[in-house]
């Protein structure tokens, strides 16, 4: 008897809850249907200047990158249903703005090289393809063989020119007029995002030096006291406000016997840490000053985002690529 009344009571509760849930479900349904009309679907524009790469390389890009970084995006049915479609639209728009394989050949040879090396490094750092994408598209995951193919590809598009006479000549010309031209008494160049050139870097400590085979340059990298203290004490995630890094970049002269010498000065790159001024790039403000005239790179501050996007690879080291290795990595 007791069991029967309990069952009856439960049934009446469920049916009254059902009655109450119907309007909510109805509103939700109307809502979901309505939001389908406020989305703008991603359009696949024409493929005008596709990347010029071997079939082996292009095949890897197609399987891992094309859904976002090309005008040949293929969408599943659920990618087209809002609100998922909003996220997909956003990701594809951002991805195409970084680079688009369907118009890739409109970029200069140098820009193509820069982006391709960045892609490979994004892959090696495990940042690309996005995990949120490969969960639903496991076929997009890269195999170790794919990664090797991509590494060999970027090396092949950046060949070494041994004993390059033009580099030697420009280095010799620079030596003839070598004077320590301090810019302290002149106008200090300023990047479009407000990052100023810092002439005093020459009195800072050198934190590292690099020799690069991607763009055939070398760097002497300086850090101010805040930077040096942060590195020595292991407080780099994040670097404290006030940290500043200056990278002095030179072309290189490479010899067949393995010797690599500095050629002419190329540019100076600066990173300053200021959380208030640069909140959208984890507090880092970037500056680049080209040639002996230290001409600020870019005409708009938008380049700061480009720099930061690439530096995201180094999030493990506070967004700085070239800090000294940890003791465990020294051999």
């Amino acid at each position: 008897m007791l069991g029967y009344s309990l069952v009856k009571k439960l049934r009446s509760m469920v049916s009254s809850k059902k009655l109450r849930l119907w309007p909510i479900a109805g509103i939700l349904l109307v809502g979901i249907i309505s939001i389908q009309f406020i989305q703008v679907p991603v359009q696949n524009d024409k493929v005008t200047h596709p990347i010029n790469a071997s079939e082996e390389v292009a095949k890897i890009f197609r399987k891992a990158c094309y859904d976002c970084h090309s005008n040949e995006s293929k969408f599943n049915w659920y990618d087209k249903v809002a609100p998922v479609s909003w996220l997909v639209n956003h990701d594809v728009k951002v991805a195409r703005s970084r680079f688009n394989f369907s118009t890739f050949d409109t970029l200069s040879a140098t820009d193509q090289q820069v982006r391709l090396w960045e892609m490979v490094n994004m892959v090696l750092a495990g940042k690309m393809p996005l995990n949120s994408y490969t969960i639903l598209h496991p076929e997009a995951k890269l195999t170790p063989h794919d990664v090797e193919v991509l590494k060999n590809y970027v090396v092949s598009i950046s060949p070494t020119r041994y004993h390059d006479s033009s580099q030697i000549k420009s280095a010799e010309e620079e030596q003839k007029v070598l004077v320590d031209k301090s810019t302290a008494s002149k106008n200090i160049p300023v990047a479009p995002n407000g990052v100023r050139f810092i002439p005093d870097y020459k009195n800072w400590e050198v934190i590292s030096t690099t020799s690069r085979f991607d763009n055939h340059t070398m760097r002497v990298i300086y850090g101010n006291k805040v930077t040096v203290n942060a590195i020595r004490s292991g407080r780099i995630k994040p670097f404290p406000d006030g940290a500043a890094i200056v990278k002095v970049v030179y072309n290189i002269i490479e010899e067949k016997n393995g010797e690599v010498y500095p050629g002419a000065f190329n540019n100076i790159q600066i990173m300053i840490k200021d959380e208030k001024r640069f909140p959208e790039s984890k507090g880092w403000g970037f500056g680049r000053f080209n040639g002996k005239g230290l001409k600020p790179y870019s005409e708009t501050a938008a380049f700061n985002t480009t720099c930061y996007n690439c530096h995201k690879i180094a999030d493990e080291t506070g967004y700085v690529f070239s800090i000294p290795l940890e003791n465990k990595d020294l051999k």
Binding site: S208, I231, E254, L330
Partner: protein, 146 residues
């Protein structure tokens, strides 16, 4: 008894300082920035076959002579050769790793007022005789640092 206590305390201090020193050097996450003691960079170069990266430091006089090619007494050159390492965060770049050797060259005036050089290897081993090393180290030209 007092002597025993002092000896025990001394042992404790020595053992403690040794332990601390070892703690620092064994700290796997520590990053070491080479301390050039105020010397400035003259140039940098590398050898991909030998897998080394070098930084040549100098005092103001050494820096000046690396620009003009004319030597004076009192120059200090310090060549630090690091093992070349892969830059962990950027495929396409090598970075300086552990210090392999340090070579020191200083200039002085002889009795006949000529400029001569002294050569030392404070750390590591270097091939080649002193005269050849001195010539190599002092003949590098300074980089342009705008």
């Amino acid at each position: 008894m007092i002597r025993m206590k002092i000896f025990a305390m001394l042992l404790f201090v020595i053992a403690g300082s040794y332990g601390c020193a070892n703690d620092t050097s064994n700290d796997v996450h520590k990053r070491i920035i080479y301390n050039a003691h105020g010397l400035r960079v003259i140039t940098s170069f590398s050898d991909r076959k030998q897998q080394t990266i070098s930084l040549l430091y100098g005092n103001a006089l050494a820096l000046q002579s690396a620009k003009t090619g004319i030597h004076d007494k009192g120059e200090v050159f310090e060549l630090v050769t690091f093992k070349q390492a892969n830059n962990k965060y950027w495929y396409g770049s090598y970075i300086n790793g552990a210090v392999q050797s340090i070579e020191l060259v200083t200039s002085y005036a002889t009795d006949k007022n000529a400029i001569a050089f002294k050569y030392k290897i404070p750390q590591g081993q270097v091939t080649g005789n002193a005269d050849i090393r001195i010539k190599g180290i002092t003949s590098h030209r300074a980089l342009l640092f705008p």
